[in-house]
Each structure stands twice: as structure tokens, then as C-alpha cells.
Symmetry: C2
DNA sequence: ACTGTTATATATCGATACTATATATATCGT
DNA sequence: ACGATATATATAGTATCGATATATAACAGT
């Protein structure tokens, strides 16, 4: 799924600037299942504009650079629907931490423990920012994607907390310290 | 983590050709937490050879093209240890299917159901190929990474099976058919 | 026996995406 | 006052991938 399609998808949530679209992928609703960078978002918005799939208006700001607000057009929505009609590619997970755990025998034990604790904390943080706010007012399909994300993070956290001894050895377990 | 480091990591499991390294990322031990393509593996092996981090010997085959077998060198192992000493980047998950679920209102219901069923099946398949063979003979850190992968897939499968109505509506639930 | 598909091998090019950098001003923490 | 971060835009250089190319074996279907 290319970045132009992702931008169209992001704009279905409401008008946004390039910077705001980036935030949707970094910390917002898309952050748990896709990414996009400034290096691809700005060029994509330019091409979408040329193709008439988005429209743009500039908004001046006091003491700050002007903001370019983009909106999806009707032909943009048609193009999005067409893309969503295709078969999705397989999921891709890239986890440097898991590569490190897999190659743990090539790491210093203290270093491995630091990486493990940081990774566990980052998963707690991700879970925490998905547990609020309350999502009972969300449409069902949004509850679905959010719930699936939580299930992922919770399962990983539970497994890591219960099995840290497999990676770090017995003396690092739980509250033996 | 760049592809050269991934190739060094792959070669710690034993000598391999470019094609075999690709298979490790496609169907093998790394497939659940990282990817690499021919387009990056072959150039990476070339550069690793130039830098003395791997060595290579050609193996002729009957009726098939020659095979280039690569081995990690001592300086390759040193370089790998150094890379593993750095802080890993955050995990990146790219899931076109989840983007589609999130944007479900822009999809035809029949199409959404097909995507959902295909995605669920692909997760069952991934889980199945992680449940065999028995891993009790694996070193603990390998049991850890495999177990974490299983926990991920199992949690996703359970959530999807229990909550398909949120995405597809009541009439599509379980065995109401 | 023949044909199409898949597997086993190598490799590279063009397209896409990302990181780093650039510019500009506000806000925040020390 | 100063450094870090946030809010904004944008692009060049770099990395990665998908498509393509070449070659032969093995397999499945007819």
C-alpha cells in the first residue's frame, strides 16, 4: 500500500496538513499498523494534488510558517475505494529487538537486559496509549482494530514478563532482586 | 538494522548462499520479525566480502548454476557484536489488512469479509508453522523468540475469531451460517 | 510425452520510501 | 539566556524492494 493511498486514508478522518498526517502515523490511529515519513508524505501530497485526488488551501498562522491543509476530493475517495478493493500484501514486521534476542549469544548480558527492559517498557507505553480514551463511542470497526492492537501488545507483554528467564537467565527473574 | 547486519546474523546459523539467506527471512527463523529481499541481499553480501566480514567459496552443482556459499569471518563476528551493542530502533509493523479494516466503511462488505478470512487464515498458517517441530531442544533464547511469535499469532487469532462481528456485522458471526 | 508451474541459483535496475538536513518561529524546562 | 522540543515546509542522498533477466531441475496435470 503506497504512501499516496495512506495519505488518502488519513484524509478520510478529516482535513490535515502534511505534518498532521505524519503525526497520525507516528502517534495516532495508524501508528500501530503502518508508517510514513515526511520524505514520502510531502511528495505524495504533491502528486495527489496534481492528480486532483486532494485539494489544498493555505492557512496563515501568527508567528509560524503557513500551514497547507489538504482535503480528499470525490475522485480521491473513488481512487481510495479502488485501492482497498485489491488483495492486501502480507503483514511485515521489522523488529530489531527481536533480531537481537534471537542472536542473544552475541550480546553482553548487561546490554541484553537493558534492551529487554526497554522493549518491555515500550510495549507497556504503547498499550497504555491505546487504553485511553474510552472507545465505546467508536464505530465497531474502529473498536475492532483498536482491540486487535491491544491484544497484540498485551500478549507480548504477558509473554515477556512470564518468560524473561529464558532470555536473561534465572537470576534476572521477576522479584528475586 | 541494515541488511548487511542481518546477513551477518543469518550466517551465524551456518554457511549459506544468497538464496538460502533469503529463505531464512521468507520462511525460516527470521521470517516473523524481519525481512530482506534479493535486491538487497546480493549487494550486501558483495560489500561484506569486500570488507572481509564474510568469505565465499563457489560450489558447482550438477545441472544447476554454481552456488556461492558465504561464511562469516572473525572480523564479521566482531562487527556483528558491535551492531548488536547499539540501541534497537522501534518495531515497525506494516499491515495493509489492518489499514483496510480501519477504513472498512470504504470497502464492499463481501470484499471486507474475503480480506478478513484470508488474513485470519494466514495467521493460522503462520502459527501452524511455528508449532512444529518441537522446540524443547532449542537454546532458551530461541525458545523465547519462538514463543513470543506464537503468543502474537495466537492472541491475534483469538481476538479475530471472537470479534469478527465488530468488523463484519452480526450475521457473519461464527457458526450462525 | 508435453506443457506450465515451481524450485533452485545468480544478479541488477528502476521505483519507492526513509533519514538527514535545511529553514523558520514558538514553547518549554533549566 | 539557552538548549531542547514542537510546529511547519521541503528535498537530496541513501537504502530497500519488486520486477526482470538468465539458467536448469523437479513437479503436476493432461
Amino acid at each position: 500500500m503506497d504512501v499516496k493511498t495512506l495519505c488518502l486514508g488519513a484524509l478520510t478522518l478529516g482535513d490535515a496538513s502534511g505534518y498532521e498526517i505524519k503525526k497520525m502515523f507516528e502517534d495516532g490511529p495508524f501508528s500501530h499498523f503502518h508508517q510514513a515519513s515526511f520524505g514520502s508524505i510531502y511528495p505524495a501530497l504533491g502528486k495527489l494534488g496534481e492528480a486532483g485526488l486532494v485539494s489544498m488551501r493555505e492557512q496563515s498562522q501568527d508567528g509560524r510558517p503557513d500551514k497547507k491543509m489538504y482535503s480528499i476530493t470525490e475522485s480521491g475517495e473513488v481512487a481510495l475505494r479502488r485501492k482497498l478493493g485489491k488483495t492486501p500484501a502480507d503483514d511485515r514486521i521489522r523488529s530489531e529487538a527481536l533480531v537481537m534476542f534471537f542472536l542473544a549469544e552475541y550480546m553482553q548480558p548487561e546490554r541484553l537486559e537493558k534492551v529487554f527492559d526497554g522493549y518491555l517498557k515500550s510495549y507497556h507505553d504503547k498499550l497504555n496509549c491505546m487504553c485511553e480514551p474510552d472507545d465505546s463511542t467508536l464505530p465497531p470497526h474502529r473498536q475492532f482494530t483498536r482491540g486487535l492492537g491491544r491484544a497484540f501488545y498485551q500478549a507480548a507483554i504477558d509473554f515477556m514478563e512470564e518468560n524473561r528467564h529464558l532470555l536473561l537467565g534465572e537470576e534476572h527473574s521477576g522479584d528475586a532482586k
